[in-house]
């Protein structure tokens, strides 16, 4: 009897413990790919506001992760720049006046130019952006971009390319594209000319659709990546939600959602870009939204792993994987260089973006109309004097005095 009880207790204990053990083993299974890196990155670096210790720690974390992938100090460089001018009126404990870009070089044996792939690693803050971002982890903006870059770095290790590759993690984007502006300002003209394409990744994890943008019109690089993606990424719809007003980058007198990203620093320098972002530009709301349900998390306190993964975990995985695969397959394909080598021709020229020229032309037209009105007025005055006589000829008067015509003046 005692033996039976002991056996039953043993079976019962095993029955109770075993499933938990199995579940625990399942729960402990780490996520892989870009999504796994995203979880790891934002969990270890939940606050990365530009100019804070958190941003510096995130930079260290990224460098260490790249070294884990097998890259060395020779491959990685860090570029420090001042953000002092952007912090006027901002006070917070532990704020510094510098930020950093982290750059990974993957040189090639046969160089046909250079490709830069970038994403910013800082997050929005209520400190200076006026956002309600306090408490957020910057998962959507832009932990996803960092995770994609890291996964690409892992995939490009030991891959032989036909061009030099540089992967850059930009700092202080949320302050006004400061890191990418600094990076571009440090390039010589010959290096700028040498860059085939800059690929930017920002806010890719939870939007309804993935978009790839190259300029406010057709570009071969956007079409190329959209095709490579097999439908995962799309070019912007015809209605691109262009709105009036100065672009956040200050370089265009109108604004589209694609302007608010590091790719603009490159585009303004005449470097072609392919910008991957997610959202829903076909939604039933004004302006840019992340999804049709209008559950915007970007720049809010809801931009956390817990909030987004509860609602959009599958989307996070599929989006990040799609961006990684599209970029990797795109740049390693044989036709890549041929597809993007003429991309510069599609950049909108400075003349067409310069409102001063438009204003000058308008004033000239107005002056022309004024001159025409002056002569037409003369014609009316002649008619006033001659009645219905033919005034086209110059037979009677050439220029009647004002006193000759009727007015209401006393």
């Amino acid at each position: 009897m005692k033996t039976k009880k002991t056996v039953l207790c043993f079976i019962l204990a095993v029955a109770l413990i075993l499933p938990n053990t199995v579940f625990a083993a399942e729960a402990a299974t780490p996520s892989t790919g870009a999504y796994g890196l995203l979880e790891e990155f934002v969990t270890d670096n939940p606050s990365r506001t530009a100019g804070t210790a958190g941003e510096g720690a995130a930079a260290d974390w990224i460098e260490n992760k790249l070294k884990e992938f097998g890259y060395t100090d020779d491959d990685i460089s860090r570029q420090t720049f001042s953000i002092e001018n952007y912090l006027s009126g901002v006070s917070g404990s532990g704020l510094t006046t510098t930020s950093e870009n982290i750059s990974l070089s993957v040189p090639s044996a046969v160089s046909n130019g250079k490709v830069v792939i970038g994403a910013h690693y800082d997050n929005a803050s209520s400190l200076y952006n006026g956002y309600s971002a306090t408490g957020g982890q910057g998962v959507s903006d832009n932990g996803g971009g960092v995770a994609v870059l890291l996964e690409l770095a892992r995939k490009f290790k030991d891959v032989s390319l036909d061009f030099d590759l540089e992967i850059v993690f930009f700092g202080a984007e949320e302050l006004g594209l400061v890191g990418s502006r600094h990076y571009v300002s440090g390039l010589t003209q010959s290096v700028k000319d040498d860059i085939l394409l800059m690929i930017n990744i920002d806010v890719v994890v939870n939007g309804d659709y993935l978009y790839v943008w190259g300029e406010d019109g057709y570009t071969p690089q956007a079409a190329y990546f959209a095709e490579i993606s097999g439908g995962s990424a799309r070019v912007l719809p015809a209605n691109k939600r262009a709105v009036y007003g100065v672009s956040v980058t200050g370089s265009r007198p109108y604004y589209t959602v694609a302007h608010a990203a590091d790719s603009m620093s490159f585009l303004d320098a005449g470097i072609p870009v392919a910008f991957f972002f997610s959202g829903n530009l076909s939604s039933g709301s004004f302006g840019y939204v992340e999804n049709d349900g209008m559950d915007g998390v970007m720049h809010t306190e809801n931009d956390t792993l817990e909030y987004i993964s509860e609602r959009y975990r599958d989307k996070m995985i599929s989006n990040t994987d799609a961006v990684v695969n599209t970029i990797y397959n795109g740049v390693t394909a044989d036709g890549f260089v041929a597809a993007v080598e003429n991309a510069r021709d599609y950049i909108t020229g400075g003349f067409w973006l310069n409102g001063v020229y438009a204003m000058a032309i308008t004033l000239v037209i107005m002056a022309g109309l004024g001159v025409w009105a002056y002569f037409y007025y003369g014609k009316l005055k002649k008619r006033a004097i001659l009645g219905t006589a033919d005034v086209r000829g110059e037979r009677v008067f050439t220029r009647p005095d004002d006193d000759d015509i009727f007015t209401f003046r006393s």
Binding site: A242, V243, S285, F286, W352, I405
Partner: protein
């Protein structure tokens, strides 16, 4: 046309308001998107792109514009002593002209959908050029209806000066 207007002024005025409101929606399609887009960003709330938002915009803006047009026209008519032009009828003709400006400008601005960069030149050029053409047409109509050869030059001069002043102001406000 003017006889129909004179037969039932109230009905014509309401029809004019409706036409003006509809044309306003077309002419200011991008301005409406901009205003509500920025509002969405500023408030952190996605304003639904719904018919009632457009309707509300059209009603409010038509009312505001009519008020401004009536006030300015009264002011200008008094200042320039343009007593020969009937004020109420002119208001309808002016609002219809404004509707034509908005409708034509709006149709041309559809090119922004293909290339937003066209907005830079478009915003400077389209409205002044279309306005000049339409308001010249308004002058010809007013001349035919109310003026004679003697007073037409003075009205034309007043119209051109007023148009130039408002155009330059609007250019610099832009």
């Amino acid at each position: 046309m003017i006889n129909i207007l004179r037969k039932n002024y109230a009905l014509t005025l309401w029809l004019t308001r409706v036409i003006y409101g509809l044309a306003l929606l077309l002419g200011q399609m991008f301005a409406i998107d901009s205003a509500f887009g920025w509002l969405s960003m500023a408030l952190g709330v996605a304003v639904p792109r719904a018919w009632y938002v457009y309707l509300a915009y059209a009603v409010v803006m038509t009312a505001v514009m009519e008020l401004i047009i009536r006030l300015l026209t009264r002011l200008i008519f008094n200042f320039l002593r343009l007593v020969i032009i009937p004020f109420n009828e002119f208001i309808i003709l002016f609002m219809l002209s404004g509707a034509v400006v908005n409708a034509v400008s709006g149709l041309i601005k559809l090119v922004y959908l293909v290339s937003p960069a066209a907005m830079v030149f478009g915003e400077w050029l389209i409205t002044p050029v279309v306005s000049a053409a339409v308001y010249f047409g308004l002058f010809l109509l007013v001349k035919r209806l109310y003026l004679n050869d003697k007073n037409a030059p003075y009205v034309f001069r007043c119209g051109v000066i007023t148009f130039m002043i408002f155009s330059v102001i609007s250019l610099f406000i832009l």
